[in-house]
C-alpha cells in the first residue's frame, strides 16, 4: 500500500443546518476539515495508507477531530497533542445569488503555534512515497513555515514526491508575504496545484480574459498561467482547477494539467452544489492517487476532476467517494440513475 503524508491544520467546522443564515441558527452541524486533512481522507477512501500530521489540543474537541479522521481510516498516529485550542471555521451555505460565507476563528490554534523539532519527520516519512500540504500551512505563521521547511528537507533526502496546493487565504497573509514564502517552498515541490485565482494572488500570474466574479473563465488564459508556473518553478506538473461560478447553487467545474510538454484539459461538469467546500482538496487527492497508481496525465486530469466533481454532492469537507464510484462517472454515467 502506498503511504502518503499530509500535514496542516484541521479545524472544527460549524455550520447552520440546510440553507439557514448564521443569524437564524439554533444549532450547528458539527464536522471537521482542513485542506490537508481533506486530502488524507480522500486517499484513505482510495485504499492509500494515508497519514495526516497535525497538532491538536488534548481536550475532547481535539479528540473529536482525531476520531473523525480515524473513522475514515486515516492514520492519526503522528498527530501530536497539546496547545490551547482547535481552530474553528463557521460556514454558512449559500443558495442562488446568495454566496456561502466563512468566518474564521483560527488564531492561536495548537498547530499555528508549533515549532521545529516537535515532529519526528524521519519516522513520519518512513516508507512514504508522497508528501502533500497546502499554502494554508505556511500562512499560519513563522513556526508552521519553518516546520514545513524542516519536513521538506527530510522529504527531499528520502526522495519523496512533494505536492502543494497554493490555496491562497487573504485573511492569513498578504500576497507579498505569500509570494516570498511560497517561492522558497517551491524549490522542493514536484506538483503545483492551484485554482483559478491562486496563481495571481500568490505569484502575480494573471489569467487574462477571465472574470471570476461573473463566472466567465478564459481557457486560453489558464493555459498560459499553467505554462508560466511551470517555467518559473520547473516542477513535474502543474494542475489548475477551473470553477465557473454561475451561482451559489450551480457551478461548472473542470481542470487542466501541464507537464511541460502536453496540456490536458478535462471534461467540464455542470454541478448542482450540495457543499463545495473541499472541492479543490478532492482534486488534489484524485491527482495524487492517479500519479501513484501510474495513470497517464490525461487519465489523471479526468480522474481528479471526476472525483472532485462528485465531492460537490457531499455534505462536509470530506470527499466520501471510492474509486469504483468515481470510475463509474469517468465511464460516462452521470445520469444519476438509482444504483440497486
Amino acid at each position: 500500500m502506498n503511504k502518503v503524508v499530509t500535514f496542516g491544520e484541521i479545524m472544527l467546522r460549524l455550520s447552520p443546518p440546510g440553507k439557514q443564515r448564521f443569524i437564524q441558527a439554533v444549532n450547528y452541524d458539527v464536522t471537521y476539515g482542513g485542506g490537508e486533512a481533506n486530502v488524507a481522507v480522500s486517499l484513505a477512501n482510495y485504499g492509500i495508507d494515508s497519514c495526516f500530521v497535525t497538532k491538536v489540543p488534548e481536550h475532547e474537541i481535539g479528540q473529536g477531530s482525531i476520531n473523525h479522521l480515524r473513522q475514515y481510516g486515516v492514520n492519526t498516529n503522528y498527530i501530536t497533542r497539546g496547545g490551547k485550542r482547535l481552530g474553528i471555521y463557521f460556514l454558512e451555505i449559500g443558495a442562488s445569488q446568495r454566496p456561502s460565507k466563512v468566518i474564521y476563528d483560527r488564531e492561536n490554534s495548537s498547530i499555528a503555534q508549533i515549532r521545529t523539532g516537535e515532529f519526528d519527520w524521519e519516522k513520519i516519512f518512513e516508507g512514504a512515497k508522497w508528501f502533500h500540504f497546502t499554502g494554508i500551512t505556511p500562512a499560519l505563521g513563522d513556526g508552521p513555515t519553518e516546520v514545513i521547511l524542516e519536513a521538506l528537507k527530510v522529504a527531499q533526502d528520502k526522495k519523496i514526491k512533494v505536492s502543494v496546493d497554493l490555496n491562497y487565504r487573504k485573511n492569513l497573509w498578504s500576497s507579498e508575504k505569500a509570494n516570498q514564502v511560497m517561492t522558497k517552498i517551491m524549490e522542493y515541490v514536484d506538483v503545483i496545484i492551484g485554482n483559478e485565482e491562486d496563481a495571481e494572488k500568490v505569484f502575480g500570474i494573471k489569467a487574462t480574459g477571465s472574470d471570476i466574479t461573473s463566472g466567465k473563465l478564459s481557457e486560453d488564459g489558464y493555459r498560459n498561467v499553467a505554462r508560466q508556473l511551470f517555467e518559473r518553478f520547473q516542477p513535474e506538473l502543474v494542475a489548475i482547477t477551473l470553477r465557473e461560478s454561475i451561482s451559489a447553487s450551480d457551478n461548472n467545474w473542470s481542470s487542466l494539467i501541464y507537464n511541460g510538454e502536453d496540456l490536458y484539459r478535462s471534461k467540464i461538469y455542470k454541478i448542482h452544489i450540495v457543499d463545495r467546500v473541499g472541492g479543490g482538496d478532492a482534486f488534489s487527492a484524485g491527482l495524487i492517487y492517479s500519479i501513484l497508481t501510474e495513470k497517464s496525465h490525461s487519465e489523471a486530469t479526468e480522474f481528479a476532476t471526476a472525483a472532485s466533481c462528485l465531492k460537490h454532492s457531499i455534505e462536509g469537507d470530506f470527499n466520501l467517494m471510492n474509486v469504483k464510484e468515481i470510475e463509474r462517472l469517468l465511464k460516462g454515467d452521470a445520469s444519476g440513475r438509482v444504483q440497486r
Copy 2:
C-alpha cells in the same frame, strides 16, 4: 366506490436525511414502501377502495408498515401476520452526478416465504374490479409466484382486470428466470406497464437508438417496444414510462400508451427531483384510476404522467397527491405559484 386489490411486498425503508451518504448518517428517516403498496396508497388518495395484501411479522416493525398504510386510508384487513421479518431497503438519495443508491436486505421476509393457501382470494376479490401487482412479487421466490398464479386464476374467474408493472430487479432473479415466469403470468394480464428498460431485461425487447446511461431516449424505439409487447402478449393496453436521466437532480419524464390501434405520447415534464422512488408506481396508479373512471386513453396517459411527475416532488415512496391537485397540473399550471 371502485375496489382495487394490490399484492406484494412492503418494506421498511431507511434513508439518511437529506443528501447524506450512508456512511455519514447517525439517524435514518423511517418510512415504508414497495411497488404494490405504493400503488395502493395512490389509489386511496384518489378515493378508491384500495386494498393492499401482504404478510408481515407480528412485531412492531410489521405493525408499523400497517399503520403507515392505514394512515392514508388503505384497507389493510387482508394482510396476514406471521413469519420472521419485514424486508428492509436502505436508500441513499443522490445529487447531481452522484446517483441514489439502494441496498436491499429483504431475504427471508414474511412475504417471501408465503405458500399457496395462505390467502383467501375469493374473499379478498369480493366486489373488486382490478388486481395489480409488479414483477417484484414473483421474483421473491417460488412461493410468491405460485400465490400470484393462484390469485390470477380467481381474478380471471371473477373477470377482474389485471395489470402488472414489469419492474425488473436484477438482484432478485435473472433475465432468463424472469422471462420464463413472467411469460406464464402474461396470460392473465390486461394491462402491461414497464419502464424504459424492463421490456429488454424481462423479454429481450430492446429499444433501438436509446442510451439509458446517457439519458438519451429514442421515441421511435419505444413506440416499437410497445408494439412488440402488444403483439406478443395481446393485452388491452401497453404503457411505458420514459425517464431521461440527466442527473440525480434532474430528469425528464413522460410516457406512451399503445392500445393496439393508437399510440398516445404524453407531455414531457422537466423535473427537479426530491425523491424519485415510487415514480413508476405513481404512474401505474394514475393509469388504473384513469381506466376505472373511464378516461380516454389519451387522457389516461396524461393523467398518469402528471400524477407520477408530481410524485418526484414528494419525500418517501408514496404519491401523496389528490385528484384535484393532479388536474391542476393537467390544466397546464406547472408554475408552482403559491396556492392560498
Copy 3:
C-alpha cells in the same frame, strides 16, 4: 436615523420541514411573519429605526412574535397586547411542478378586532418619515380599515410619506370590496406597490398579453398597468414586481418603477428558490430604503429588486440581508463564490 412605521398583522407561521407535505409532518418549523412585519425587519437590517405596530394576545404565542421581531432590532414598543389569538398560517413549501400551499387560520385574531382609538398615532408617528402598510390590513375587517384611515389622517397632518403594497388576498375580501376600500385609501398614498396580478384584482387594471399561470409576462402590458395606476391615483411613484413562475423551484424576478415621467425596468434575476414568501415585502423595504437614502429611481428599482431577489434564498418570511450584501449583488457579483 430615519424612523419608519409599518402597521398590520403578524402571524405565527407553521411549516413542515424541508419539502414535506402537511400530511407527512410530525413537526413544524416555527417562525412569524406578515407583510408589514417583514418590511419592518428588512428596514431594521438596513439600519433604519423601524417600528412595527400591531396588536397581539398576552400569552406566550403573542410574546413569541414580539421576541422574534426584537431579535432583529425592530422597535416593538407601540405594539398593544390583548385580544384572543394570534393569526396562524400554515405553509407547505412546494418543489418542481408541485406548488407551495398556504392554509390561513387567521380569523378573530387580536389585530382583526381592533377599533379606532386603540393606538396613539400622534405618539407613534413622532419623528417618523414614512408609513407603510399593505392591502391585507384593511382586508382584515372594518375595524382595521377604520384604524388605517385614522392613522393616514395623522400621517397626512405630519407630512409623513405613505406607501402601500396592494397585496390582494382573495380569502379576505372580494375584488369589489377591495376596489371600494383601497380607492378611498389611495387618496393618502404616495407610493403604490403591486405585483403582477394585484392591479387587476383590486382595480381591474389588466396587463394584456400575459399569462401568469404559464409564467409568461408581457413587459409592455405591465408598463401600461403602471401608467394607468399612476394616472388614476396620481401618486409619486408606482412600482410593480414581476414574477415569472417557471416552477415552484425556479422563478425569474424583476420589477419596474414609473414616476409619471420615466419608467425604469430592473435587471431580471433567475432564482433557485429556497423560500419565496416575503419576496414582495423585501421589495417594498428595498424601495422605501432607497427613497429615504435618496437613491435615484433607477438605482431604487435595482436595489429593491436585488434585495428581494436575495430574499428568495432565505428561509422564513424575513429578508435577513444587510445593505453591504445587497450592494455586492448590485455590483454584479451573483457568482455565489464563497465569501471568506
Copy 4:
C-alpha cells in the same frame, strides 16, 4: 368485536420539543389529541371496534387529524367534514418545580359550531355497545350540548351503555353552567368518571382533607366524593382517578371505583413522567375495556390504573399500549427490565 363510539373534539397539538419553553421553540412537535379521541385510540389498541365521531375542516390540517387516528386503527368513517378550523392547543412540557402549560386556541372550531341533525346517530350507533364522551364536549357550546343530548336519546333507545368523564375545563365554562348542563346529562349516564378535582368544580362535591396544590390527597375524602356522586346520580359505577402531584416530573397515580356496594382502591404507582396529558383518558379507556370484557370491578380498577400509569411514559395524547403490555404490569412486573 365490541363497537364503542366516542364523540368530541380533536385538536392539533403543538408543543416545543423536550423541555423547551414556548418562547424558545423554533419548531413544534405536531400531534393531535382530545379526550374522546384519546379514548378511541386506546380502545382500538385493545382490539375494540372503536369509532370516533367529530367534525373537522376539509383542509389538510383537518385531514391530518383523521390520518393520525386511522393510523392506530380508529374507525373515522362517521367524521363529518366542514367548518372553518381545527382547534389548537399549545403544550409546554414542565419539569421539576416548573409546571406544564397549555394555551388553548380552540374557539370557532368546526366541532364547536355543529348543530343537531348533522350526525346520523341511528347509523353511528348501529351495533354499538358503548358511548363515551367527556364534559369538554358540552362545554364547547350550546350546539355541541344539544348534539350530545340528541345522541344520548338514541343511545338510550338502543340500550347502549354511556360513560362520561367529567373533565372540567374552567376556560370553557363556569362551574355554574357546568353544573346545570352536566346535571341534565347525568340522567343518561351509566358510568361517571372524574379526577381529584372534577366533582368539586362541576357539582360542588368537595373531598375534605385534601390539598391538590401540595399534592396531598386524602383517601377518605375521595371515598366520600364517590359515594356522594353515586347517591346524587345513581349510575352503575363511579370512578375517580387520584393524582398526587409531587412535581412536574413525579406523580403518584391511583384510582378508586364505587359501585354502590363496594369500593375498590387500586395500587398506587410512583411515576416518572414523560407526558401526562391523556392520563385520565387512558383510565377511561381501560375502564370501558374492562367492563366490556367482563372483568370484575376490582380487576377493572387495577387494569384502568395500570393502563393509565403506562400512558405517562408515552409522548403525545395517545396511550399506545396493548393489553398484553398492561397485563405484564398488572402481574407485578414494574421493573422496567429490557424485553428482548
Copy 5:
C-alpha cells in the same frame, strides 16, 4: 422602570444535544450566555430596564449574541463592536454519576482585550439604580479589571448600588490574584453574592464541616462564612447560594442572606435538573429585583431562591421565568400541575 446595568462577557455556548458526550455529537445546540448577560435577561423578564454592556466582534457570531439578548428585551445599545472573536464555551450535560463538563475557548475574546476609555460610563449609568458584575470580568485580564474600576468610580459618584457575584474561575486566575484584585473591588460593593465554594477560593474563608464533593453542606459553616464576609468587607448584604450535589441529575438548592443583623435561610428545593448553568445568575437577578422592588430580606431570599430553583428546569443559560410564575412557586405550588 428601574434601570440596571450589568457588564461582562457573553460567550457562544455550544452543547451536544440531550445527554450526548462531546465525542458523539454531530451537531451542537447553539445559544449564548455569561454571568452578567444571564442576570440581564432575568431582569428584563421581570420588567426591569436591563442594560448589558460588553464588546463583541463585528461579524455574525458577535451579532448573534446581541440578537439573542434583544429577543428577551435586554437593552444592547451600549455594547461596543470590534476585536477578533467571541469567547466560546463547550458544554456537555451530565447525567446521574457523570458530571457536566465545560471546555472554555475564551482567550483573546473582544471583551478580554478592552482598555479603559472604551466605554462611556457616564452615559451608560445615566438614570441607573444598580450595577452588577461577577468575579469573572476582572479575571479576564488587566484591561477588564481596570475598566471595572473605572466603572465603579462612576457608579460610586452616581450613588448607584453595586453587587458582585464572586464566581471564582480557576482557569482564569489563581486564588492569590483573585484575592488581591477582588479585595480592591470590594471597596465599592454593596451586595456580595457567592456560592458554597467562592468565599474559600477567593478570600480563603472556609465553611467548616462541609464536603462539597459528597454534596454534604453544613449550614452552620455557611452562616459563619456569611458573617466573616460581612465583617471583612462591610457591605449591606451578603448572600450565599447552597448547592447540595447529589448527582448530575439531582440537587438540593437553597440560600442564606446576612445583613449584619439577621440571617435568613431560604426553603430548600429538591430539583430534577434540566440545565443547571446560570443557576447562580438567576439567584443574583432575583436578589437585585427583590431589593429594587423593596421586598424584605426574608422575602428576597425566598424570591431569589425560588427564581433560581426554576432556572434549573430550563435549557440554556437564561432564566426564562417571569415574576408571576416565580410567585406561584413562592406561594407553595411546586406540584407541577398543568397550568391551563
Copy 6:
C-alpha cells in the same frame, strides 16, 4: 500496550429518538453495538490495543460498523468482509414502568454463517494477552461455535487469558443447548462473568431468595452462585453483576467477584438511566482492564462497577468514559458537579 482480542457480532442498532415507541418513530437513531464490540471500544478508551474480530458484509452498512469502531480507536484490521447482511436490533427505550424493548433481526448475518478456517487466529493472537467473547457468539450457530473453539485452542497454546460473559439470550438458543455448548467452552475460560440471571439460565445455578422481576436481589444467594460457578469450572475468577431494577428509569447497580478464596462486594450505585444497553459489557471491559493493569481483586470490582455505572449515563452501546473519569468516581465524587 496490552493487546486484547474480542470476537463476536456487531449489529446495526436502530432506535426511536428519546422515549418514543417504535410505532411513533419517523426516524431512528443509528449506531452499532454488540457485546464483544462494546468491550473492545471500552478497552480502546482505556488505552489498550483493542482488536475486534468479526465478519461484516461488503456494503456501506457493513462499512458503517467498521467506521464506528475505528472512530474510537479499535483495531479493525482482522475483520473479514463478505456474507449477506449485518444483523440488526431495534431498540425502544423505556421509561418509568414501561420497559425497554428489543426486536432482533439478526438471522443469516455474515458472522452467523462463518465457518472454521476463515480467521487466521495465529496472526490475530500475535502479541495478545487476553481474549474475550460472550455467550452470544456460540449461540449464533454451529459455525460460530466451532470458530470459537478453534480460536480457544490457539489462545490456549499461546497462553492467552480467556474471559467469557455468559450473556444468555433466549431467542438464540435453549438453556439445554446453552448448557451443553458453554460447558464445553468453560474448559478454556479463566474469567467467568455473568449477570443476576445468566448462571441460572445457562447452568441451572439459581440464586435463592431473589426475585428479579420485583428488583429484589439477595446478596447471599449470589455469593452462593459465585461459589458454585467457581467450584464447577475452576476458573481464576468469577464475577457477577447485580442489577436491581426498580423501574426502567432507576436501577441499583453493583457486582461481586470471587477468586476461590475471597469474595469482594462492590459499592452499590443508584442510577438514573440514560441507556442501560452495554452495561454488562462495560463491566467486562473494566474487569479485563483492571486485571491487565494488575489492580487487586478488590480494586477490580470497584473499577469495573464504577465504569459500568457510568455507562448507564451514555447513549448507545459503547461506554465512552476514560480511566481518569472513572477514577474520579472511584475516589468518591458522584456529585455530578460541573467539571470546568
